[in-house]
């Protein structure tokens, strides 16, 4: 009786297997296929690892990768401590706790392209509130408006980076806050009481009670933020389109330019796979290291 049941069970999984194949396996294989072949007027020929070698030695790719890493580590350095700090300051219960949670959740509910569009307008030097206020401040400190606006993310790479990072911090710190807050909520009151009895300082409470209890959720927060920011596309694409020049062209924007702009499918396919492997590797490394620390 058990055996017949088992056979039937296999048939039940079939639709899911087909779905997964359509969704993940076939597109992935298509990309792999493109990455090892040369296409010339509809004729395909096998060229091995050529595209990979090209991509890795390509200065354009290397620059995009450096920009990508710089961006990801900057926002991690800002968002993780800031998120933890805000979570610590949030009330732990009562009406204000709910209000804070709703406020925190708001940026996460806005579609990504809308976030890009919002900041695109918000930071414009002439009509955007932020851009206007920064330039008004610069004027106050003696910048001559005749030389053009002091802050203009459409022209100045530094201004563009500043705006992109600010946008990301605004958009995603909430996620870190919510995860850290969940970790904090799991701490029993007895711990705080014991710390008071032991005469622990505010810093000791953080270091020995709160941080260890937040460790798991913070690991998840770092992983999520790493992966998301490493793959960031929509917001900077809408905000700066990768400019001025190539100053905010991150890996994914570059990839889209190569694949769709230049129809350079072999290069794009090789780059996709390298990109994918990098994310997988870093995530795995990070996860393994944290879990090893746990066992000790």
């Amino acid at each position: 009786m058990n055996k017949t049941l088992n056979h039937r069970a296999w048939w039940m999984v079939l639709p899911v297997l087909i779905l997964v194949a359509m969704n993940a396996v076939i597109p992935l294989m298509t990309v792999v296929n493109f990455s090892v072949q040369e296409e010339f007027y509809g004729e395909f020929s096998f060229i091995g690892m050529q595209w990979f070698a090209d991509t890795l030695t390509n200065e354009r790719f290397q620059n995009a990768l450096i920009r990508q890493l710089a961006f990801t580590f900057t926002i991690l350095l800002i968002e993780i401590p800031l998120g933890v700090f805000i979570a610590l300051k949030m009330p732990r219960s009562g009406r204000w706790a709910s209000v804070c949670l709703v406020l925190m959740a708001l940026p996460l509910l806005i579609p990504w392209n809308v976030v890009g569009a919002m900041w695109n307008i918000y930071a414009l030097p002439d009509i955007g509130f932020m851009g206007y206020m920064i330039n008004a401040g610069a004027g106050f400190f003696g910048h001559d408006p005749a030389n053009g606006p002091w802050f203009d993310y459409t022209q100045e790479p530094v201004a563009a980076w500043f705006t992109v990072i600010l946008m990301d911090v605004w958009h995603w710190t909430s996620l870190v806050v919510l995860l850290a807050y969940a970790g904090l909520q799991s701490i029993d009151n007895a711990y705080y009481q014991a710390a008071r009895i032991d005469g622990a300082s505010r810093w000791s409470v953080f270091r020995y009670i709160q941080l260890p209890k937040m460790k798991h959720t913070l690991t998840i927060a770092v992983l999520l933020r790493f992966m998301d920011s490493f793959m960031i596309y929509t917001e900077p694409s809408v905000l700066t389109g990768g400019g001025p020049g190539n100053s905010t062209t991150f890996l994914s924007i570059d990839l889209v330019k190569i694949a769709l702009g230049q129809q350079d499918l072999g290069n794009a396919a090789a780059m996709s796979i390298i990109y994918f492997l990098m994310i997988l590797l870093v995530s795995w490394l990070f996860y393994t290291l944290t879990m090893q620390g746990e066992k000790k």
Partner: protein, 369 residues
């Protein structure tokens, strides 16, 4: 170490308490707890024992009244300034620290010298039997070892005025309970800390404490030694709550030195005036009831016999109310057993729940005061 004085104490969670029922601790609690004694606060959940503990630890400021350690008023002092230590229901240890660091934590926070810290921690570790695991991480230890660390963190400070325990054996296995309890007892005998122990478990309360404070609905019903609580419960609740099974409480008519239970006369040890109360009961513990056969005594029917190893509990029925009897391990019970006899000296009379003195007892008290 300190004497603890509770003076005119009451607590309510509502800002403007109107009736007595608005109080979690009813007005008023007035006690002096002696320096170096072990007290247990015993009662069912919601009786106010934890509220009282929180007032002593400084987590709560009482709505009224004062609390003194020796002669110092500490009612408004924060926990950290009170020199109390506390062991919680679930073991609270600093997971990332070693056992040594855990024990050293309260001293280091108060800026003690490294030399002193090492010396003191070693002494304490010796006392609580953790000398061998000083260098291991606290995280991986068993629940009972963690509770020992909690206790050690309290004792490590020489200025500790009182050690508070909030149901500390809840998560400990029965066999380890024995070990921890006796160790605690030995530590108390040796170092004479004032200890306050909150529990709902009568065995823990009675075996641990010099004095037990029995609480019900925010009131202290009786404060006494374990023997007093057993031999002379001042309220039927104390009789019921202490003892396993608790005291048999039966509605009765009391006339002189006889109690009438549904037409059956029970001799009493003392003579009583007609109690002026809406409800008169007699109470007798199952330990002082004997089961016999024959024509004498209270006619009952044996409902069930529970063999609990070291003795048997016989559940009998008398006109619809249950009367429990404790008989020895080797006693055999049969259908012949249909009569109960009470030891007259162990019968107490209660009026509206509170104990009534016999006339001779009242006279003696009057003469001595």
């Amino acid at each position: 170490m300190a004497k603890i004085t509770l003076s005119n104490l009451a607590h309510s969670y509502s800002d403007i308490p109107v009736t007595r029922d608005d109080f979690q601790l009813k007005p008023t609690i007035d006690h002096v707890w002696n320096d170096g004694e072990a007290y247990a606060l015993l009662g069912p959940s919601g009786c106010g024992k934890t509220t009282l503990l929180n007032i002593i630890s400084g987590l709560l400021v009482p709505s009224q009244g004062r609390i003194l350690f020796d002669e110092t008023d500490i009612t408004e002092l924060p926990t950290a300034a009170r020199n109390v230590a506390q062991v919680f229901q679930f073991p609270v240890v600093y997971d990332t620290m070693t056992v040594f660091e855990n024990l050293a934590f309260p001293l280091r926070n108060r800026g003690a010298s490294a030399d002193y810290v090492t010396r003191r921690v070693k002494t304490i570790a010796e006392m609580i039997g953790l000398s061998d695991s000083l260098d291991s991480r606290a995280h991986g230890l068993t629940a009972d070892a963690k509770q020992k660390i909690s206790l050690g963190r309290g004792m490590v400070r020489e200025d500790v005025a009182a050690i508070l325990f909030d149901e500390p054996l809840t998560v400990i296995d029965p066999h380890m309970k024995w070990e921890l309890r006796t160790e605690l007892k030995a530590l108390h005998r040796e170092f004479e800390h004032t200890m306050i122990y909150v529990t709902h478990d009568q065995t823990e309360a009675l075996t641990f404490a010099d004095k037990v404070v029995v609480m019900l609905d925010g009131e202290v019903v009786q404060l006494g030694t374990p023997v007093e609580l057993f031999n002379r419960p001042e309220h039927t609740f104390v009789g019921f709550f202490i003892g396993s099974p608790g005291m048999n409480v039966l509605e009765a008519k009391v006339e002189g030195d006889t109690a009438l239970l549904g037409g059956c006369a029970i001799p009493l040890h003392h003579g009583y005036k007609q109690p002026d109360a809406s409800r008169v009961e007699i109470g007798v513990r199952p330990e002082f009831v004997t089961l016999t056969d024959g024509e004498d005594g209270l006619p009952v029917k044996v409902e069930r016999v529970e063999d609990i190893g070291r003795h048997k509990i016989v559940r009998t029925d008398f006109n619809g109310s249950e009367i429990n009897v404790i008989v020895p391990e080797d006693a055999s019970i049969s259908d012949r057993h249909n009569r109960l006899k009470f030891d007259p000296a162990a019968i107490h009379v209660y009026a509206d729940g509170w104990i009534v003195d016999g006339e001779d007892q009242a006279r003696q008290k009057g003469a001595s005061s």
